[in-house]
Symmetry: C2
Subunit: 481 residues, 2 copies
């Protein structure tokens, strides 16, 4: 027999080219160690519930009732569920056509898209059209669908921040496009310099690449910075001048841990700018139920909103969404609950506020503990996590460590992270998985371990790191002893 279609040699090259470090070598090794009985702290993915964060009670009550609608006719239902959860379950079931077991419209349930539009209008102060909002199985699926429409071949470039969340690099590889990197400046708190951006576009054009879109992640992943309004204006002006679609990854909009730069949406800034920019720049914004204080990653719920996208294109995106029939319906209900939360006076309101504020305030404290912890370590410097869920410390590896990594056949930060994993059980992602400047090394960890475990985790990290640095530092007198 010759080579078969699913032999490695004959697979689609774009598939093989994809790199996805968040679930890469480190994660696979961590899974192995876990199987062998080692206690692993998975900080490789922003997966709050996996690290003990409790789900918010009210939305879970509502979705449980929607899954078991026969409970609504049970005289005992009031013993297990509050009246507002029962009312909400009836509301969402009335928006479906056949409950949670029926495919919805491929764009999502119309009534929930309406609630999303109302949320956006309250948030931004501008009306939003439910027909331009599509619900998706997590934000990632929306990003993939959008890029699929934009990328026609390797001559099409997408501007992506570096360091970046590898969803973008992976999807661009898979679709056979070209990633055009623009570097975030670590010494300027991971700020974005428009001059750098201009240079990136110019360099790409020299190579014959048509730059078609720009991705921003705000708050940043893995870098944790929050973009200022002024910066967003510059970006939108740039997109206008360069004729770029802006993809606004705003999944961390609820995760902000400082007060100087609250979250502001790309869409609000775009609308504030007025014509011609507000009428011309094509923008797609993404949101999710996986982040914030919800952390409902496993439910896979998200949406995207389209601004200045012509109807014919909206129809094409609808058609593509139709191939997989519909996003999962339970997560659509979570999205409804997220954008249309309880109001003061509702029976469950106080519990909801207590739970959600408890999570957010704890995340704020953990962001601080982690940054301080990293900065107390030898050869480690770390910007404060202004938002999102990650810490992205720079690890200044001594030349001898880099040499040892080369001998072991590993990228230096992979080498460091593997050693960290073996020594402490802390499963991180090497900075090389997100992109970084030549010769500079990082790791990404989430700020999600339980607050009470944080001090022990950080001191275990510090112990490992400082010993590692000592071992590999060019300490001549030490090595001659």
């Amino acid at each position: 027999m010759g080579i078969k279609a699913l032999d490695y040699e004959s697979l689609n090259e774009n598939v093989k080219k994809v790199q996805y470090a968040v679930r890469g070598e480190l994660y696979l090794r961590a899974s192995e160690l876990q199987k062998e009985g080692k206690k692993i702290i998975f900080t490789n993915v922003g997966n709050p519930h996996a690290l003990g964060q409790k789900p918010l009670t009210f939305p879970r009550q509502v979705v449980a009732l929607c899954q078991a609608p026969f409970l609504l006719d049970d005289p005992n239902v009031g013993l297990l569920f509050p009246a507002d959860a029962i009312a909400r379950a009836k509301h969402y079931l009335s928006l479906t056509s056949g409950g949670l077991g029926a495919y919805s419209d491929s764009r999502g349930i119309p009534g929930i898209r309406k609630e999303v539009a109302e949320f956006i209008e309250r948030r931004d102060g501008y009306p939003s059209d439910p027909e331009l909002i599509f619900l998706t199985d997590g934000a990632s699926k929306g990003v993939m669908q959008t890029l699929n429409c934009i990328i026609r071949g390797e001559g099409d470039g997408i501007l992506v921040p570096v360091p970046q969340y590898p969803l973008y690099s992976a999807t661009i590889s898979l679709l056979g496009g070209s990633l055009v990197p623009y570097y975030l400046e670590e010494t300027a708190n991971w700020g974005l310099d428009i001059n750098d951006l201009r240079q990136s576009v110019a360099q790409a054009r020299m190579k014959g690449i048509t730059v078609r879109a720009m991705v921003i992640i705000n708050p940043g992943n893995p870098t944790g910075q929050c973009l200022s309004e002024a910066n967003l204006r510059e970006i939108l002006t740039f997109c206008y001048r360069e004729n770029l679609v802006l993809l606004g990854d705003e999944v961390y909009q609820q995760n902000v841990y400082q007060d100087e730069r609250p979250f502001i949406s790309s869409r609000k800034v775009l609308m504030d700018m007025g014509p011609p920019i507000s009428k011309e720049v094509q923008l797609i914004s993404f949101h999710t139920v996986s982040k914030g204080y919800w952390g409902e990653c496993g439910q896979r719920g998200g949406y995207f909103e389209m601004t200045n996208i012509p109807p014919q294109t909206v129809d094409e995106i609808y058609k593509i969404a139709s191939i997989a029939l519909s996003p999962n319906v339970p997560a659509q209900i979570f999205m409804g609950l997220m954008v249309n939360p309880l109001k003061p006076g509702d029976i469950s309101y106080e519990q909801f506020v207590r739970e959600s504020q408890g999570i957010l305030q704890s995340l704020r404290r953990r962001a601080r503990i982690m940054t301080d912890g990293f900065n107390s370590c030898k050869n480690v410097v770390c910007n404060f996590t202004e938002g999102a869920m990650y810490s992205f410390p720079q690890i200044r590896l001594p030349p001898k460590a880099i040499e040892a990594a080369k001998k072991a056949g590993k990228v230096p930060d992979v080498f460091y992270c593997l050693k960290l994993l073996e020594a402490t059980g802390i499963s991180t992602v090497p900075g090389s998985g997100f992109g970084q400047k030549e010769g500079v090394f990082h790791l990404r960890t989430t700020i999600l371990p339980a607050e009470e475990d944080m001090p022990a985790i950080m001191s275990s990290f510090k112990k490992f790191n400082d010993e590692f640095m000592e071992q590999y530092e060019d300490n001549w007198s030490h090595s001659r002893m």
Copy 2:
């Protein structure tokens, strides 16, 4: 401003090429009419709950408890949930790492993949490896991932039955591959003739296409036939000789309405054939929670199982699955419940059997009512629905109707289906959406409307059809009156 990246003119051509009739013109028109207040019977998609099928109680109880795990500590839980549902919820929660809100492994929860493997072993009599089973957001997503690995460009061909479920044609277009049709023979009860298959491959090769894979849908969609063991052996021998991956779409394996040809899996036949074929033919089989007597379409749960796929390729598929992090977790639990059902003696067993058998037996009766109904109509002939969820009658349109369609700028069967929709509210899919021989016309309808509504629907269809035929038949004497 010039053309922008998301203007229709500049979209990815593969996106524009995609056709997806199940949610196409007919569906859009039906949605409009519904908005205007007309009562629509949606038989365009196999979406049982949307047409009133009740979900099975036990799995819904289990998943509701998994969504609201705090209920498990409530002393009143026993008033609303039976003990076996409580035990099952605890079991599935123990298999997750963080409940339904945490991303699972991108391949799905290991413990549930093990239950799937045990199900396959019981079904086929051969062991199955959980490491070669991936859980997905519905079977469609698995098909799309697989084709993404196989298709490298337009020189790669995939053999697809015609008529076919348009997931295949749409995905092949989107990925830029070539669909190589093989025709099912309507007069032989939609059977598959290996000689035809050989001819299709030869013709594709003449055009320079490398045929890499073959799709079978068993039981058939839209055609409803069940493949015999002898036919499956021929197909597998053909795949062996021609070096083709076999994609076995077996999502309707529980939906069989005759006793002569029970469902038999491609994998069992492959294993039965022994070496070299059983060791050589690469097979990927798909299953779902959306069909059968479950009909849990909106939950989006599926799996695929890989046979004779090398580990390096499995790793690549794992990597691609990782980009979207994980399939939704609630649907993974539905899959667990489907493959590991209640056993005699369990508290909820009798109710479960009553509900599931009630659905299956009613579907069997409905398949018969529908076939008989179509065959009683003027110029309509219809094979019996042996399996799956669809009826696919041939509509013999008179020349005058074809002419009228041309005048209206419509494909003839689209013209007929639109008239049917306007007259009766029955929303079907024209046969041209699935592919059919030149000059032959069909429509697809599901057999899913409630059994008690069936007689009225079929007589409303008959009334429309017979009047339509009369109107367009070349009845000279009549037209001179």
